[in-house]
């Protein structure tokens, strides 16, 4: 296991183009695919992108800002107030970047467990904000949330491997 400083120094350099295009593509695909496949609503591609870039860059500030921007982009497509997903994603980005410095995130099993934990944390943050801050009638369903977290975690492992190859090629 590497030390904190060595992990920080070995942070991956991500091309700016990929950093700009990937979130937009994720938000667009999330919106477009859901038109034809309703079950795709279970997937949260923008959140997976947030986790990946936050872990890869290992910079909590960058992860926070990236998560906030992607979350606001998601909120803009809904009728919910701007900031619900922004706050949740910013928190996830911060934690993911902080963890990326301390633990090995290249392992698939680690990625799977991290994704499950981040998805559950995101759902909890979302539920707290919408139910207790906005006063909506959102219910918490453990089965649904675990299913969502599991599906997204599996997809996240595949997506992260794909993005690793793109990043290496660049």
């Amino acid at each position: 296991m590497l030390t904190y400083d060595s992990r920080r120094e070995s942070a991956h350099r991500i091309p700016l183009a990929l950093l700009l295009i990937a979130p937009m593509v994720a938000i667009s695909l999330q919106s477009l695919i859901s038109v034809h496949f309703e079950r795709f609503n279970l997937i949260n591609l923008p959140l997976l992108i947030t986790i990946y870039f936050a872990v890869a860059r290992r910079n909590p500030i960058a992860g926070t800002l990236l998560g906030a921007v992607i979350g606001i982009g998601q909120d803009a497509l809904t009728h919910l107030p701007i900031g619900v997903n922004g706050m949740a994603n910013a928190l996830i980005g911060f934690i993911a970047a902080s963890l990326g410095v301390k633990i090995d995130v290249e392992n698939h099993a680690t990625r799977l467990l991290l994704n499950i934990a981040f998805l559950l944390l995101h759902s909890f943050c979302y539920w707290i904000i919408t139910r207790h801050m906005l006063g909506t009638n959102l219910t918490w369903n453990w089965i649904h949330e675990l299913l969502r977290a599991g599906v997204n975690a599996v997809l996240g492992v595949i997506l992260f491997a794909l993005l690793d190859r793109i990043r290496t090629r660049d």
Binding site: L32, E38, L77, I82, M133, L138
Partner: protein, 558 residues
């Protein structure tokens, strides 16, 4: 101090980001009305994101649509002609149905005008393509490719032919957001079709539309249709919403129930929707034209039906010059030749105008037989034994065929059923001569049977309790014209041409002893016992063989 910010800069940045968004959240929530439009900065932010998303979405949607259109417009065109023919036939049928309901619709409009009730009809719609969604199962929202430039505005209802979809929540120049009825923030005034119970429809946490704030009612059953009530001033009244899927108790409000509705529109796979951009208190011109066409067609159809009832011998109302003998006269009508001449000219004129509708009326009649015989309605060719002697008329319901001789025009206008009475006024000798069996008449035995059955009460007291008005025997003898008047007014010399009565109706009559005295039985060659008393020497023209006849004791030997 500097070391503090340097040391905790990550956490401070996070707090700052969260705080800014939290303040923004509070400002957005603090609106004058819950469903009021977003503030300008928020709306601008949404517009940027959707504007960035819309072009690739349009390209993607257009590519997919083009591929499907190429297949459906150029390759998958088989059986289009047959399908077009079937659809045209269905349009005609629906027009007739619409015309039948048009009078009620007009009456409803008149009553609404009297009550000063403003019915809102869908006047204009805009077809929009769904190019995106919110991308989350927590927000049921669609993005369509029509915006303010196409006349779309806030709060406009969005529908499909199967049911309502939602309402426009946000409008941009080239796109708009549609809030589905399955979202928790939605609301629509609905009512149940049968029970007329009204309520508010909105989505639950699982994305299912449900009617809330309803007291328990046993009449609410799954499968009942749900319609818009028009009370929300957004959706026009009477639009389909869906059907009741189940009823569940409201966990938060105990006495109330939630009626879960299965939406009629497939909200999970919407590609095209209709945005109602304008409503009015009158029907749109296109619908008005359709209604007028349907009314005219239904009127023609009705005229053709009236004509077919008056002139059942006419198959084609447009061809009124057809020879009278092509079809037989109406059953029971006394004058066959007078049928066409007695037709109402107005009805004939109406029938000429209703050529197309007459085809439908014609289809209700049985087709002409390929090989007509003497029993065929309107047969012009008869067996040699009957040709030149009688003019067959259709069989009546009781199996009797009346026959008129030439020169009986004096009774041509006799009402239906009077022919028997007139025949009974004929002198007995004449009747005997007329009804004598002729060679070649294969149904003579049956004729005798009928005659004996019906002639019996004349000579004796009926043993069954029959109403006098129902039996020809109730006619007083003095009402019969004397034989001398037969020279001036020729009575209808009607005889009975028997129809082939099935054996099951004949045999019981012979086998069942009707008299109190036991009669000697005669064994038929076929093994059936016959009552010889029931076989008179000469058949008489008598009443039809009715169902009551076997109960009358046969009395022979007049």
């Amino acid at each position: 101090m500097e070391s503090f910010f340097t040391r905790y800069k990550n956490g401070l940045v996070l707090l700052l980001v969260l705080l800014v968004q939290l303040i923004g959240l509070a400002l957005q929530v603090r609106r004058p009305m819950p469903n009021s439009p977003d503030s300008k900065p928020v709306r601008l932010l949404r517009y940027w994101v959707i504007s960035a998303l819309a072009p690739p979405a349009r390209v993607s949607h257009g590519a997919g649509r083009g591929a499907r259109g190429f297949w459906s417009n150029y390759i998958d065109l088989r059986n289009v002609r047959e399908q077009n023919h079937d659809l045209q036939a269905e349009v005609d049928r629906l027009r007739l149905e619409e015309g039948a309901l048009a009078e009620d619709a007009r009456q409803g409009q008149r009553l609404q005008r009297l009550l000063d009730f403003k019915e809102h009809y869908i006047y204009r719609t805009v077809t929009a393509q769904v190019i995106g969604t919110a991308g989350s199962d927590r927000a049921r929202l669609l993005i369509v490719d029509k915006g303010s430039r196409d006349g779309v505005a806030l709060e406009m209802p969005v529908i499909t032919p199967d049911g309502i979809v939602g309402k426009v929540r946000e409008v941009f120049p080239d796109s708009a957001q549609v809030l589905e009825i399955s979202d928790q923030a939605s609301g629509a005034g609905v009512m149940l079709e049968t029970t007329r119970i009204r309520g508010v429809l909105r989505g639950n946490a699982y994305g299912e539309p449900q009617i809330i704030n309803i007291l328990p009612d046993d009449r609410i059953k799954p499968g009942e249709r749900v319609l818009t009530s028009g009370g929300d001033q957004i959706y026009p009244r009477g639009l389909p919403v869906g059907i009741v899927e189940r009823v569940a108790n409201d966990p938060e409000r105990n006495p109330y129930i939630d009626v879960i509705v299965k939406p009629g529109a497939n909200l999970s796979r919407l590609e095209e929707v209709l945005i109602i951009t304008s409503t009015g208190d009158q029907l749109p011109p296109g619908s008005e034209n359709d209604l007028s066409k349907s009314e005219a067609l239904a009127q023609q159809h009705s005229a053709a039906e009236v004509l077919s009832e008056k002139l059942p011998s006419i198959h084609d109302p447009s061809d009124l010059t057809a020879p009278p003998g092509t079809d037989g006269p109406a059953p029971g009508a006394a004058g066959a030749g007078a049928t066409h001449t007695a037709a109402d000219p107005a009805a004939i004129e109406a029938a000429k105008k209703a050529t197309a509708a007459a085809l439908l009326a014609r289809s209700l009649k049985p087709p002409p037989p390929l090989h007509p015989d003497r029993f065929t309605t309107g047969a012009s060719t008869l067996p040699p034994a009957q040709s030149g002697r009688v003019n067959p008329t259709p069989a009546t319901s009781d199996g009797i065929v009346t026959e008129r001789r030439a020169g009986t025009a004096g009774l041509a206008e006799a009402p239906k059923g009077r022919g028997i009475t007139a025949a009974r006024s004929t002198p007995t000798s004449q009747r005997s001569a007329q009804s004598a069996p002729r060679p070649g008449d294969s149904k003579t035995a049956t004729a005798r049977t009928v005659t004996s059955k019906t002639a019996t009460p004349r000579t004796g007291t009926p043993k069954t309790k029959q109403k006098p008005a129902q039996t020809p025997e109730s006619t007083p003898p003095q009402t019969s014209p004397p034989p001398s008047t037969a020279t001036t007014v020729q009575p209808a010399q009607t005889t009975i041409i028997p129809t082939p009565v099935p054996a099951k109706y004949v045999e019981p009559y012979y086998t069942k002893p009707q008299s109190s005295k036991p009669q000697p039985q005669q064994q038929r060659p076929g093994g059936t016992k016959l009552n010889p008393v029931t076989r008179p020497p000469t058949p008489k023209a008598t009443t039809p063989a009715t169902e009551q006849s076997p109960t009358v004791a046969p009395q022979g030997g007049q």
